[in-house]
């Protein structure tokens, strides 16, 4: 073999040796360079939540105030309490759908009790980072409002955000912050229409199964 032929052979061999690692990645017998992610939840996973905490009346909105009147008025309600039970099912690792039923109480200036019972369907998207989950969601449904001998059933929206610590595969603990957007529409008298705005701050325990 001449010197030139030796040089060409050596260069080709070197190139071939450099290309070997490119083919080694597809080998089933090779070790991966980094660990694969495992989804926390999957379709069919479910959970129950129980929530309880503080109910904060914010304000009433009147979208057609009389001349000179403010569109925003005080609720005149005291701080109150709230609680709820929720059932949710995961459609994927991040998306879940559920039902929630709850209740709240507060008092008027003359210490008459005021109650609301919301029944909502919830749709949420859940972020996961480390041991924590951060769902953001919106609930829509009906709100049964009771004051003295009056009862109204109205539409309700409840956007909210939560933060959970995943204690183990079954239990999570955390808190919720939910805004209640509660319109009250009186068909026979539009001047009585109002939108109630309330906030609930609750602690939560969640069981996964």
């Amino acid at each position: 073999m001449t010197d030139r032929k030796k040089l060409v052979f050596t260069a080709l061999l070197f190139i071939i040796l450099c290309m070997v690692p490119l083919y080694a990645q597809n080998s089933d017998n090779e070790e991966p360079e980094e660990m694969q992610k495992v989804d926390l939840y999957t379709l069919g996973d479910q959970c129950f939540s129980i929530n309880a905490g503080l109910f904060i009346p914010l304000f009433f909105m009147d979208f057609s105030p009389e001349d000179g009147s403010s569109a925003v008025a005080s609720t005149n309600l005291t701080l109150g309490g709230t609680g709820s039970l929720a059932y949710e099912a995961y459609l994927s690792n991040h998306i879940k759908l559920g039902l929630e039923i709850g209740g709240m109480f507060a008092y008027s200036p003359n210490m008459n009790p005021f109650f609301m019972v919301p029944i909502t369907a919830k749709f949420g998207y859940e972020f996961h980072f480390g041991q924590f989950s951060l769902p953001i969601y919106i609930g829509t449904g009906i709100n049964i409002i009771t004051y003295k001998d009056l009862t109204n059933v109205q539409f309700l929206m409840k956007p909210g955000i939560s933060l959970y610590y995943n204690y183990n595969s079954n239990w999570s603990f955390g808190g919720n912050l939910v805004w209640w957007v509660a319109p009250e529409i009186i068909p026979s008298s539009s001047s009585q229409n109002r939108v109630g705005n309330f906030l609930d701050v609750t602690i939560s325990a969640q069981y996964h199964f």
Binding site: F60, L97, K148, N152, E184
Partner: protein, 440 residues
Amino acid sequence: MNKIIRLSYIFMVMLLMTTCSNTGIFLSLENEEEIKESNNLNNSANISNMVIAGDFYIGNGGPSIFYRSTNTSTTDSKIDDWSTLLVPETSFENPSVYFSRTTSTTSMVLLNGDLYISRISFDGSSVISGIYRLPNADTIDISALTAASWEKIIEVTTEKASSSFNSNVFRLFEAQSSLYINHLTYFYSGSDDQTASISSSALYVTTTPETIADNLANATAIDISSFFSELSNPVEVAKITTSGTNYWMIINSDTSTDGSDPTLNKVLRSTDSTTFTEVTAIPDARYVDIYEYKTNPDVLLVSNTSGSLYISINADSAPTSADLVFTELANESVFLNGFEDIGALVPDNVIVGTSATYDDGSIDGEGYYQLDLSDLSNITWSVDNFSHYNNYFSSELSTASINGFLFDSAKSRLFAYTRSMGLWMNILPDNKTEREWSRE
């Protein structure tokens, strides 16, 4: 899961469409004002009647009569406290007995400036019933009364026997310048009998009550029993009222509380205060109250125990009984009792109190209702009552049995006196734009 969500939504929509109310709860809360305790009267006081005598409000609380000044101050915060009116002495040896809880003022009227009360007192062995007069009550200083300020008109003593006995009760009605006295006797079957039945009833009228004798001999007797063809019970007077042109009376021969026989109740009419004829055009019912709203045209309102109003409207200011034609305006099944013209506050409107039924022992009524008489061809109940959102709805007054109203037009104060829920006052407070109720 999706099916459950869909079904839940359908259920919610159905519920939403079937339970919309006509009253905004949020609006009620937004406007609710705290009920103030503006005075010292007991919140559970039972006030059966109230009058304005000169510069004083006087309320009949049964065992006690309360008074306070109308307060000439323009600042509502400076309201005088309620005090107990000194009542007349009786013939008891121990006068202090009449302050006991077995003493009661059965009725109270203001006539020609004089205050008349009927009282019944029991000292354990005898019952004293009487009518007493406070002359010139509209000009004297009520707070400076002595027991001797009162004049005795009639006083009857009945010894309580171990066997049966009768006691006397006088009920007073005022109609312009006439004082009507319904003299009832109650029969007790024994000394331990805690209940009594009416054994006799007689009605008298006088325009000079200060001169009537103990036996009412110089008062004019009015025969009310002849209106009933078959009489099984004595006839008692439930109500007498006048517009000045017409005199109206409700009489009951059904002294049981359920009014099971509506034919035993009558509405009578007179133009001279003494000669009454029966109003036959009104449907048979157990009548509760009667009110002549105006006389030109003549608008007559009669309530019954079923919560209905019988309304008669007649162009003739003094219609005969035959001219009256009644229509019925139904309402909740409550007694409607105590009419008050609030035209100075809400033009062409009248409020009427409600009462619990007598036989269930409840003191809960439904507050008051408001009648819109602006269109006499279409008289309707108002959807929201007077002062509804300004703490009427949120207060106990909205569930009270109301015995009646008193409107002080000079001070623009409306009082509602109740059965065991105290006395309420509606005013326009300083620095506010809407009237509100407070508790006296």
